[in-house]
Amino acid sequence: MNWLIGAVLFLILAPVAGGLIAGIDRKITARMQGRVGPPLLQPFYDVGKLFEKENVVVTTAQNFYVLVYLIFIALSGALFFAGGDLLLIVFAFTLAHVFLVLGAYAVHSPYSHIGAERELIQLMAYEPMVILAAVGLYMVTNSFYVADIAATTVPAILYLPGVFLGFATILTIKLRKSPFDISTSHHAHQEIVKGITTEFSGSTLAQVEIAHWYENVFLLGFVYLFFSWNPVIGVVAVAITYAAEIFIDNVTARVRWQAALKSGWLAAGILGLGNLAILSYMMLGGA
């Protein structure tokens, strides 16, 4: 029964938590720039507004793809909080983004296509590191199930510092933050029209936004797994990680896609694989 409660709670509470996190994010960002910033509930006003607007549709299929994107993001998060198999979750998560890319390709706007191509590059950049993070957690806890990993008494972070740093690197890509916000960004000033969301408006854009809230809560849950042996340290670590991401977002400019791809793969190759190699050597040696 526990798994069902976890999944249902995620589906209901994650949009609330995700929206609040986005609100806090915008407030802190504004303060870092010496501004007052929008109200805490601004992300909810934005999404509410989008539902009030006319939905301009170029190709009907785009709405379907975005809806499926939202469903699969919610599904992968629900599986995660139900304590499911980490590999299945990662694959469902990837599939969701493929639908978003298809939605952006369904229209004829060249800006939308550039966004879609860049989203694919992002997928390639972060995917290896996500898989390595799942493998690393398996090596420490002997289970791919989130329920087992969360219940472990082993401090996974001490065995996986490299994997964690690698994951934090690709987290910047996933949260759509500078310097890796190449497919679309929260800040309009460095955008080619609006990247992957160019052709989405009204309620369709609202769905993309809600999916992003679900996604952020899921990703922060993933960060928590590294610290799950102690819930207090876990929550503090998640908060510090997110604060660091906001800081990085505000002090860096967007890089070119080549640099984003290199960073993702270097993180996976050096930090991720290097960490796992040392870990397996220690395990073989009985250390």
């Binding site: 910033g37 507004k49 309009a188």
Partner: protein, 161 residues
Amino acid sequence: MSTMAFLKRSPWILHYDASSCNGCDIEVLACLTPLYDVERFGIINTGNPKHADILLITGGINELNKAVVRNLYEQMPEPKVVVAIGACAATGGIFRECYNITGGVDKVIPVDVYVPGCAARPEQIIDGVVTALGILEEKRMKMSGAAQTKEETRHAVGEST
């Protein structure tokens, strides 16, 4: 039918420089700086007409960008408002007799709010946008009212047949 008015709390702006001397443009951008920080009111500067609620136009319309302005306006989803900023956007200003100037923004698309000035001050621009929010809200009510009438008519027809 939603009666909550989120639109007023989250107006996203599209800024287009028709043929401004850049004076008004700089004042528009000043509204986004830490001094005025219009994001306090949920106002965001977007570069995408499909995400915008308010179209800010600076400068008079010239023969070459007539089609561009019309295109931007048509791409914005309803409800939407247009704010003409500065003397040139209102009438063509000191450029009105130039060979390539058509005139004010209202020669091409309907304008809801005129912000006077050369250049318009940031306080005036913010005031213009706030005035525009009231008109935006009226349009939204009318829009949801129209949708409701349509729905009711559809029901009435459905019941009679």
